[in-house]
């Protein structure tokens, strides 16, 4: 439409302007959309990159060093995967009771739980944890370079059921070893780290009360800390585990071991030693209030931590050997997915992340985490460097100790009724330490009670 002059009418101009405006807006919108789509991932793309965005998983473990370190890095996991983690770290006994109850009722409160060493046989044997092979062997879920075969075979073994199916990814292979918080007192007395039980008693007698510090300590979980002494004297917990579960707590070897062990604690331990829990032991060592301990590597390594008052005087050694050999405790704890878990795929993402080579290397590098289960990380110069304290190569002690696993002496711990016998060992040592009974009498009673408890649990003896 034009007016008399042939020029577009005002109405046309207005209409054209409006059309131009719409066209421009449409163009601009298209350009903006394209730009946004190019620069920022669209929701669909986002969903492909982080398919678990919006998922929250519940994870629980006892408050180990590793589990605490993991909690410091959960933000990275959420950033990578979009999965939020509700993380719970109760103390060891509380965790075990809570997990036992949760698992036995096939509850769905937790997506990832720790498979505790002493409950491994019970929890896996009862079918309370999901088989992990479908996750491990599915390349869509687990890239080949995550490398399951890199995990220490000795640590993975307890996590397999009778058919060999894996139910847990071990995050720790913990070992018994020895450590001295005030090795300067050893040196001043002209003695070194003891290598045998005899040397241990002689050495502790020499350094006891030097600088007013009791010489020896161990925690009151005697089902763990005392058994290496039983085996060092030639005894055992069961006759032939896991096939013959007759307890053997009333043997002369056990009584001899109990005499030796309680003598060490009574003569060289701090007042009230029978009541020391593992965290108290660690704090006492780190504060230099007690000197020498036979304990888990994961705890002893904390003596060399930056917040330790004894970092400069700490030394380490292998668990001493008895008349019948060296039998350090070796135990693995693992991440597993309860059968009742609601978010199994997301749970696997968490396990995969927390047990990746990259993450474990980071923990070694930043926090000097000792008892890890990836061979490729353990064999790096970084690990050796980080695990050498005051000239003592903790990493080598770890590797050397793991070799003792081939003796098969830890079979007693893979028995599903071990908690019953564990309780009897704890009480038997406690009775001897508190002067209620002599070793032989106390362990004879423990044997009677253990048999009663095993029969009640349906074990044929």
């Amino acid at each position: 439409m034009t007016d008399e002059t042939g020029k577009p009418s005002a109405a046309d101009l207005l209409h054209g302007a409006a059309q131009l405006h719409r066209r421009q807006i449409l163009k601009s919108a298209l350009a903006a959309t394209t730009a946004v789509a190019t620069v920022l991932p669209a929701p669909a793309v986002l969903a492909q990159l982080k398919p678990f965005t919006g998922t929250t998983i519940n994870v629980s473990c006892w408050n180990s060093t590793y589990a605490q370190l993991v909690s410091n890095h959960l933000g990275e996991f959420t950033e990578q995967t979009g999965i939020k983690v509700a993380y719970d770290l109760p103390g060891f006994p509380v965790y075990n009771q809570r997990a036992d109850l949760e698992l036995s009722t096939k509850g769905s409160a937790f997506d990832v739980l720790n498979i505790t060493a002493i409950y491994t046989a019970r929890w896996i044997g009862a079918g309370w944890f999901t088989p992990l092979q479908p996750f491990i062997s599915d390349l869509a879920k687990t890239p080949a370079d995550w490398d399951f075969a890199d995990l220490l075979p000795g640590a993975v073994k307890p996590m397999r059921d009778r058919k060999g199916v894996v139910h847990g990814i071990p995050w720790i292979a913990d070992i018994n070893m020895a450590g001295a918080s005030r090795f300067d007192l050893f040196q001043a007395s002209g003695v070194g780290m003891p290598d045998t039980f005899d040397e241990m008693e002689r050495t502790l007698a020499i350094v006891n009360k030097k600088d007013n510090i009791p010489a020896y300590i161990t925690d009151n979980l005697y089902g763990w800390s005392f058994v290496p002494f039983i085996q060092g004297f030639g005894g055992n917990v069961f006759r032939n585990p896991p096939d013959d579960l007759m307890p053997t707590l009333d043997t002369p070897e056990v009584a001899e071991a109990a005499d030796f062990f309680t003598r060490l604690l009574s003569n060289f331990g701090p007042e009230g030693v029978a009541n020391y829990t593992y965290d108290q032991v660690v704090e006492s060592l780190k504060a230099g209030r007690v000197n020498y301990a036979t304990l888990n590597q994961v705890w002893l390594a904390l003596m060399a931590a930056p917040d330790s008052q004894v970092a400069k005087t700490t030394s380490f050694g292998l668990f001493p050997k008895g008349p019948k050999g060296r039998f350090p405790g070796i135990a693995s704890h693992a991440w597993g997915i309860p059968t009742g878990a609601k978010n199994k795929d997301a749970a696997w993402e968490f396990i995969k992340w927390s047990m990746s080579k990259e993450f474990l290397t980071k923990l070694v590098n930043q926090h000097a985490l000792a008892s890890i289960t990836r061979q490729s990380v353990i064999s790096t110069p970084l690990y050796k460097q980080k695990m050498t304290f005051n000239g003592y190569d903790l990493g080598q002690i770890f590797i050397d100790t793991l070799k003792y696993a081939d003796q098969g002496h830890m079979a007693y711990r893979s028995v599903n009724v071990f908690p019953q016998v564990n309780m009897q060992i704890v009480q038997a040592i406690s009775r001897v330490l508190s002067g209620q009974m002599k070793s032989r009498e106390s362990f004879k009673l423990a044997q009677t009670y253990a048999i009663a408890d095993l029969k009640r649990a349906g074990v044929k003896l």
Binding site: E271, N275, S442
Partner: protein, 282 residues
């Protein structure tokens, strides 16, 4: 009426029935089929009589209950008499004395764990500084149970104090005044005027505390874990151990059922005995 009964059934009767039913099975959580195995319903109860640890735990429980109830009544009564009055300082003291009772049991346990742990305890350090070092109490088989009695008393005497205070304030002034005019001594006034008014309150408080003492668990869990040996392993701790450490819920339920029956019988017996005595005195 019916909804109330249904709620009552849901929260008390059904769990109790389930507990009793479970006690008639050999339920072992690792063997789920055992949940409905009623083939030998007396198995667990026969087992209780043959279990010396159960019998020992009952005896330990009896000592713990007797010790805590008597001490709580005595201390609570004494403190109530001391803080009974209108002065500001007494009002302040009353509030302060209530603190232990309102603390969560776990906090109470931790406080006393610190006090009883030799190398960090202010009590042990002070004694050592005075040249009178105290040996570890919690690892002494003769003292560990009494340590728990002391802590239980510390935590719960305010309950007695509170109830006795309420009763004291209900006593009419005329008999007290008459006693004073008659020249009665303080002790005579307390013995012959005040105590009869407090008697019913003390019976009720004692009964409450007796029942509650049987539930003593957190303190034992934190302070001694049942030890040394099994010297502080009371019956409910033993039931807990069987159920939660060994997964033997059938046996644990039988112990719990026996405890419920025992508590009910004891409550009835105490109420009846003291009640009858009270009527006779009246």
């Amino acid at each position: 009426m019916l909804p109330a009964l249904l709620i009552l059934a849901a929260i008390t009767v059904i769990p109790t029935i389930y507990l009793i039913a479970t006690s008639l099975t050999p339920l072992n959580l690792t063997l789920p089929d055992s949940a409905w195995d009623f083939s030998d319903p007396t198995l667990n109860y026969v087992g209780l009589w043959d279990d010396p640890r159960f019998i020992t735990s009952v005896w330990i429980q009896a000592k713990l209950s007797a010790g805590t109830v008597v001490l709580q009544l005595l201390v609570g009564l004494l403190v109530a008499m001391l803080v009974n009055g209108p002065t500001a300082i007494r009002r302040f003291a009353r509030s302060m004395f209530l603190i232990p009772m309102v603390l969560p049991p776990i906090v109470v346990g931790i406080i006393w764990r610190v006090i009883f742990t030799v190398d960090i305890s202010p009590m042990h350090r002070a004694a050592a500084a005075l040249g009178m070092p105290i040996a570890s109490i919690l690892t002494n088989p003769h003292l560990a149970l009494w340590a728990i009695v002391v802590v239980e008393t510390w935590e719960w005497f305010p309950f007695t104090m509170l109830m006795v205070l309420a009763a004291l304030q209900m006593i009419p002034s005329s008999p007290l005044e008459a006693a004073r005019i008659d020249g009665a001594s303080r002790w005579q006034t307390f013995r012959f005027v005040v105590m009869p008014y407090l008697r019913q309150t003390l019976i009720v408080v004692g009964l409450f505390r007796l029942i509650d003492s049987i539930k003593a668990f957190p303190l034992i869990f934190i302070l001694t874990d049942g030890g040394p040996g099994d010297t502080t392993q009371v019956t409910n701790y033993y039931a807990y151990q069987q159920s939660f450490s060994f997964s033997l819920w059938g046996y644990g339920s039988a112990i719990a059922t026996a405890m419920v029956a025992g508590t009910m019988f004891l409550s009835w017996l105490v109420a009846r005995t003291l009640g009858v005595a009270d009527v006779e005195v009246s």
